[in-house]
């Protein structure tokens, strides 16, 4: 195997991985503020793509369509939290998780009613021939994916570390009661985290759509991959989610390269299981210890 092929596998893995990472970031954000897994996260990935296509068909310029789709998705995420989850926020995680499952069924089905069952194409952000680096071909759209993922991670990390909002979010992730005592508007933080998570999922869906097309049913797979990436990272910081996503993507493409394309998902899942069995809290997760 030549080095340019190896590089190509890694590039391909990082491309998929960056998309997983964006979805995983959404999982991590919601988990941090509420302690639950939002099963509708994958559907926001779907919404990002189909709404962007709808925007373009409606006549919006592409950048505007993408921004609009991310904003609308964020709005739907906020609405989901406000109207379907907040009334039950004291009922425990289980109830909330099942509500997000119900929401994902509704979102997916509504998308089919509105946008039809067929796949839809989104134009490339900046059309052009692939960039060749070290013998590996990289589509300009992939640069967009990496660029946006990078910007998002840096922005989130800065917000987490430097701003009042970030402190509020971190406080919420430790204890809602404590956060409330510190004067944090916990309800607001939770709502914001849902909106942000939806926006990130939608951004992932929109930015990858020019490469892959999109359709009403792409959410489930994106959700599974993003969840796997988030768990692999350990549901901790934004960086953990991104590393989890990139690792998963590279693992898959190296499996194709060196082992078998048919069993690439099996191989990556076996590695994930092995990681979990050896480190039950994921790669970067804090070891949760019950207090006696």
């Amino acid at each position: 195997m030549s080095s340019s092929e190896l590089l190509q596998f890694v590039v391909s893995g990082l491309q998929n991985g960056a998309v997983y990472a964006l979805v995983a970031l959404g999982f991590t954000l919601v988990y941090a503020s509420t302690g639950i897994i939002n099963f509708a996260q994958g559907e926001f990935f779907m919404l990002g793509g189909v709404l962007a296509v709808a925007g373009v068909r409606f006549g919006l310029p592409l950048p505007l369509a993408v921004v609009a789709s991310v904003l609308v998705s964020a709005g739907i995420g906020v609405a989901l939290e406000r109207f379907a989850l907040r009334p039950r926020r004291d009922s425990g995680g289980l109830v909330l998780i099942i509500i997000t499952i119900g929401a994902s069924m509704v979102l997916k089905s509504l998308a089919r009613h509105i946008f039809g069952p067929n796949e839809m194409a989104l134009p490339a952000f900046t059309p052009g021939p692939p960039v060749i680096i070290g013998g590996a071909a990289i589509d300009p759209q992939v640069l967009w994916i990496w660029g946006l993922t990078f910007v998002v991670v840096v922005a989130l990390t800065l917000v987490y570390a430097k701003t009042k909002l970030g402190r509020a979010m971190r406080a919420c992730s430790l204890s809602h009661d404590a956060a409330r005592l510190m004067g944090v508007d916990t309800a607001g933080v939770v709502m914001l985290s849902f909106g942000l998570a939806a926006a990130l999922g939608a951004l992932g869906g929109a930015v990858v759509a020019p490469l892959t097309q999109t359709a009403f049913d792409v959410g489930a797979r994106a959700g599974i991959k993003g969840f796997a990436a988030a768990i692999l990272g350990g549901l901790g910081s934004p960086v953990a989610a991104v590393v989890g996503g990139l690792l998963l993507g590279v693992l898959e493409s190296l499996s194709v390269g060196f082992l078998s394309s048919t069993y690439k998902d099996v191989i990556s899942l076996v590695v994930l299981l092995a990681v979990l069995f050896l480190r039950p809290q994921g790669l970067f997760g804090r070891a949760g210890k019950e207090k006696v």
Partner: protein, 394 residues
């Protein structure tokens, strides 16, 4: 615990009411009202939701349109035709329940469907027990390879298309073939036939990769294929991943032709792959370029009329799945029209088997006691995408 039991009793009581109610309606619908205009009832099992929603929806559209056209023109034998649709949600178990309902409660004389191969196969026990004919719109080889005298299919199965396609490759001198297929039913079926027949067709498989339905990037598989330096990449799948393969191929700068399957004869492929679709070749029936039928032939008239009607009714051109459904409906109603006397399921089955020279969208159907496929390689042509349009490949 106590009141919980009350709840259970309530639910079961409600169930019981439903049971008895349905029991009555079931027996009621079975009785003939004696009306001369009693319509022929045909059941259709299609996937309107779930993975195959994109296939089942145009199928339903085509059948509904044709049913209306036929009934407006007076129906068959002076009787109207009524098609009762059931959605199987792309689930074999649901398909089975659906067909049981169509047989039990709707008293249908034939089943059109299902959309998918797995769902089609799931119906077989019920079809056999009720002894009514089934015309499937799914392309899996297994449907007619595991022969059942009641079961027919309208698409060209991979058994027909693969040898035709391989011969096209051979004729073009593309003998070092890299195969990439999906692990879904259609892709795997095609893949296995390609592998089995490659040697006989005089081509050599030098790379063999797969991807999963829903995968969003095949760069890794194609990188491996690239290192094998094939003359041609042969792709077998029917989903949206096809466009990704085409684009990835171009991204990698591979200057080899990409050849696909009839499942890629969809506008969405061209839109999704954009300029990467240029030069893409595949075998399919003649509907995509009706001139292939020969401009003065009846087939040309049938196809152009269907295309213009469908486009008018639904605002999009019909795809190959709409064509399969058109053919299935045509096969059943044509057979009905040839029955003298009572249109029993048995008579209908025999009439379908006797179908000969029936001009449909997929080709000219001639079934026989050993052949429930009806189509031959003569109904296939080789296409090429040029300027975002399908043209006949030379």
């Amino acid at each position: 615990m106590n009141t919980q039991f009350k709840m259970v009793v309530a639910v079961l009581a409600a169930l019981l009411i439903a049971v008895t109610g349905v029991g009555c309606s079931g027996s009621g619908s079975g009785e003939s009202t004696g009306d001369v205009a009693e319509p022929y009832r045909i059941g259709a099992v299609v996937s309107l939701t779930g993975t195959y929603a994109g296939l089942g929806t145009p199928e339903k559209n085509a059948i509904e349109m044709e049913m209306k056209r036929l009934n407006d023109a007076g129906g068959v034998n002076g009787r109207q035709v009524e098609v009762i649709f059931e959605d199987d949600a792309t689930d074999p178990a649901k398909a089975q329940a659906a067909v049981a309902r169509l047989i039990e409660q709707e008293d249908v004389i034939a089943i059109i469907g299902a959309t998918g191969t797995g769902q089609t196969m799931a119906l077989r026990d019920d079809i056999d027990r009720a002894a009514i004919p089934q015309v499937s719109m799914a392309g899996g080889s297994v449907i007619t390879a595991e022969f059942d005298e009641l079961v027919f299919q309208t698409p060209w199965p991979n058994r027909t298309v693969v040898p035709f396609t391989l011969r096209q490759l051979k004729e073009r001198g593309l003998t070092n073939v890299a195969v990439i297929s999906d692990t879904g039913g259609y892709g795997k079926d095609g893949h296995d036939i390609i592998v089995a027949q490659a040697a006989a067709a005089g081509v050599k498989i030098i790379a063999d990769e797969t991807f999963n339905p829903g995968d969003t990037d095949m760069m890794a598989q194609l990188t491996k294929i690239k290192s094998a330096s094939p003359d041609v990449v042969l792709m077998w799948n029917a989903g949206k991943e096809a466009a990704i393969v085409a684009k990835n191929l171009k991204q990698l700068g591979m200057d080899v032709p990409l050849v696909g399957s009839p499942g890629n004869g969809r506008r969405e492929f061209i839109e999704g792959a954009a300029d990467a679709a240029e030069g893409f070749q595949f075998a399919a029936g003649k509907i995509l370029v009706p001139e292939a039928y020969g401009v003065d032939t009846p087939a040309y008239d049938v196809a152009t009329a269907f295309i213009s009607d469908y486009t008018k009714a639904y605002d999009v051109a019909p795809d190959i799945f709409a064509g399969h459904a058109y053919d299935a409906f045509l096969v059943v109603t044509d057979a009905l029209s040839r029955i003298e006397g009572d249109a029993t399921p048995a008579a209908l089955r025999d009439a379908i088997e006797q179908t000969s020279g029936l001009v449909g969208i997929g080709g000219t159907f001639t079934y026989g006691p050993q052949d429930h496929n009806g189509l031959t390689e003569a109904d296939l042509v080789f296409y090429r995408v040029e300027g975002n349009e399908w043209v006949l490949a030379k």
